[in-house]
């Protein structure tokens, strides 16, 4: 990634900007002409019915699609303040993933100890000093509101934790390297209501520290948790705006129909 002179730097308060994004699975166009800002240290929610492309959109941010053959991006996702296009051919996806982390729908802790799970991202970057690792692991687990529950059993297998705890461990793991953006792909759809509530509270606390982009099929969750909301339908961004405005006075009829439950 090449640094850009300061005068071309970002509009204030914007962490990333999506410009004219098209995405193709082979011949099928899954995302159409998406344009959207991502506000810094705010929570932006992506909502829409099944198959509208919200997860596909989310995965563009950290180049997850690169793992599978036959996928193609068009357009830009500009990351500020250095104004680099995350989707550019010349940009290394591994570097992107070191700056933008992801939490998945189904908690996927590694079959290792709790400590090793939290430390993995640090190890991948070559960090091996015990002192630094311990520090960052504790910080990450505290940020994920898990520290008090696991501090005495850091060497136990991560599989021993409950579903909600495992998901918080995955969040801690993603936080350990201070990412610039944290992507959440339906993080609570596999969890029970109590775990869901704790994750939502966590997201609320985290937004002071990191920019968050969350995909959710649960509208009420979007309304509770996010500052900005984007409504998608069949690969297009139908409406984007401040969450309260979208839910109280949507500008487009399509948005209103979805929000009031007329379909989807």
């Amino acid at each position: 990634m090449v640094a850009v002179p300061a005068q071309l730097a970002a509009p204030p308060g914007i962490k990333a900007e999506v410009k004219g994004l098209n995405f193709y699975y082979g011949d099928f166009q899954a995302l159409k002409r998406l344009n959207m800002p991502v506000h810094e240290k705010q929570v932006t929610a992506l909502i829409g019915p099944s198959g509208c492309g919200k997860s596909t959109f989310l995965r563009c941010f950290n180049r997850m699609h690169d793992l599978y053959p036959g996928n193609r991006y068009e357009g830009e996702i500009r990351l500020y303040p250095d104004n680099v296009n995350v989707l550019a051919q010349g940009v290394d996806p591994i570097e992107v993933r070191m700056r933008i982390s992801m939490v998945f729908q189904k908690p996927n802790p590694f079959p290792k100890s709790i400590y090793e799970n939290a430390a993995y991202a640090l190890r991948v970057r070559g960090e091996s000093r015990r002192v630094t690792l311990n520090e960052k692991v504790e910080e990450a687990l505290r940020n994920a509101a898990l520290w008090d529950e696991v501090k005495d059993r850091m060497d136990e297998p991560a599989f021993n934790l409950s579903g909600g705890q495992q998901q918080r461990l995955c969040i801690a793991r993603a936080l350990a390297t201070d990412p610039e953006i944290l992507l959440f792909d339906e993080p609570t759809s596999a969890l029970d209501p109590i775990a869901t509530a704790s994750i939502e509270e966590l997201i609320h606390d985290l937004k002071n520290k990191v920019t968050i982009l969350i995909v959710t099929h649960n509208m009420q969750q979007a309304a509770r948790v996010s500052d900005y909301t984007a409504y998608m339908y069949l690969g297009e961004l139908i409406e984007y705006g401040v969450t309260d405005e979208i839910f109280i006075k949507p500008k487009k009829k399509q948005t209103e129909d979805y929000i009031t439950g007329r379909f989807g």
Binding site: M64, L67, N108, P111
Partner: protein, 308 residues
């Protein structure tokens, strides 16, 4: 009344069909019993004739013209050394190939050719591997009729087994784990070395053990290389008292292995040698049984340990 008659007929029909069920179940058990009986007969035959011969001197003597003094020392040492060489080549090659095919290989014609070759090689008779070794390793490359040639040959022979076991073990790892690791910024090799290989170790181990069990019992390729059937000396030891303390002379030494020793004794008409053959056979069967049993046990434990 027509209805009642039909019911009776139906019941009779069902009863006769069910009789076939019973007949077939019995036939099935019988067929299984044939296998069981053969195994039991084989094992007990070896045991009855061979176990009396299993005294310490049997393991510590060289073969001899006098049956009572003949032993399997050179044979089992040779087998161990050959197994060592085989594992040394087969394990890294097999695991690396399996890893490449599952994690790296693109779907193109090169990959297809590699996969076709592996499937094909699994079905090539072991004696053809012997011919390959004779023409290529012994003469063309000049490794001679040595442990090195034998180890290389057997490694190639069991390579498909190791590769298939590696691939199946890797395939069992859910995609979510890979994605989680990639999403944290890991490179492909980091994902492989930190996750893929450690989590598939048990499955790979099972395949390696089964492959080695097969290699221990292989006779034909080793005979073809030219392992002699009467060896009354041991290959030079790998460990030496003077520096550099490790020697590789044993790789180029002539040798014999357990199955060949048994073959040699079986070919003799004297009854005493046949007893030796039974004893050697018993040891051989025990070894392969133990290895196969270990592999089956590991596979069973593996099913219970990591539940994705």
């Amino acid at each position: 009344m027509a209805y009642a008659k039909n019911l009776e007929e139906i019941r009779a029909l069902i009863a006769s069909h069910k009789r076939w069920d019973l007949v077939f179940a019995c036939v099935g058990v019988l067929a299984l019993m044939i296998g069981v009986l053969t195994f039991v007969a084989l094992f007990s035959d070896m045991a009855i004739k061979g176990v009396p011969r299993l005294e310490l001197d049997f393991f510590t003597h060289f073969p001899s013209r006098r049956a009572g003094q003949a032993g399997i020392l050179s044979a089992w040492v040779g087998s161990c050394l050959v197994m060592l060489t085989t594992a040394f080549f087969a394990v890294p090659l097999g695991v690396a190939a399996g890893l490449y095919l599952e994690e790296y290989a693109p779907k193109n014609w090169v990959t297809d050719i590699i996969e076709i070759n592996i499937t094909n090689l699994a079905g090539v008779p072991s004696i053809v591997y012997g011919l390959l070794a004779l023409g290529l390793f012994v003469y063309q490359f000049g490794f001679g009729q040595s442990i090195l040639s034998a180890g290389l040959t057997l490694a190639l022979l069991i390579l498909p087994v190791v590769i298939v076991a590696t691939r199946e073990a890797i395939r069992a790892i859910p995609q979510g784990i890979r994605e989680g690791a990639y999403a944290l910024g890991a490179t492909q090799w980091q994902v492989c070395k930190d996750h893929i290989v450690p989590y598939s170790t048990a499955g790979i181990l099972t395949g390696v053990i089964i492959g080695m069990a097969r290699a221990i019992g292989e006779t034909a390729p080793i005979i073809t290389i030219g392992a002699l059937t009467f060896i009354a000396f041991l290959p030079p030891s790998p460990l030496k008292p003077e520096p550099p303390f490790v020697s590789f002379d044993w790789l180029t030494s002539p040798f014999t292995v357990m199955p060949i020793q048994m073959f040699n004794w079986t070919s003799r008409p004297e009854a005493a040698f046949l007893v030796n053959a039974a004893a050697a056979g018993f040891v051989l069967v025990l070894m392969t049984l133990a290895m196969n049993g270990l592999a089956i046990y590991i596979r069973y434990r593996l099913r219970k340990r990591i539940n994705w």
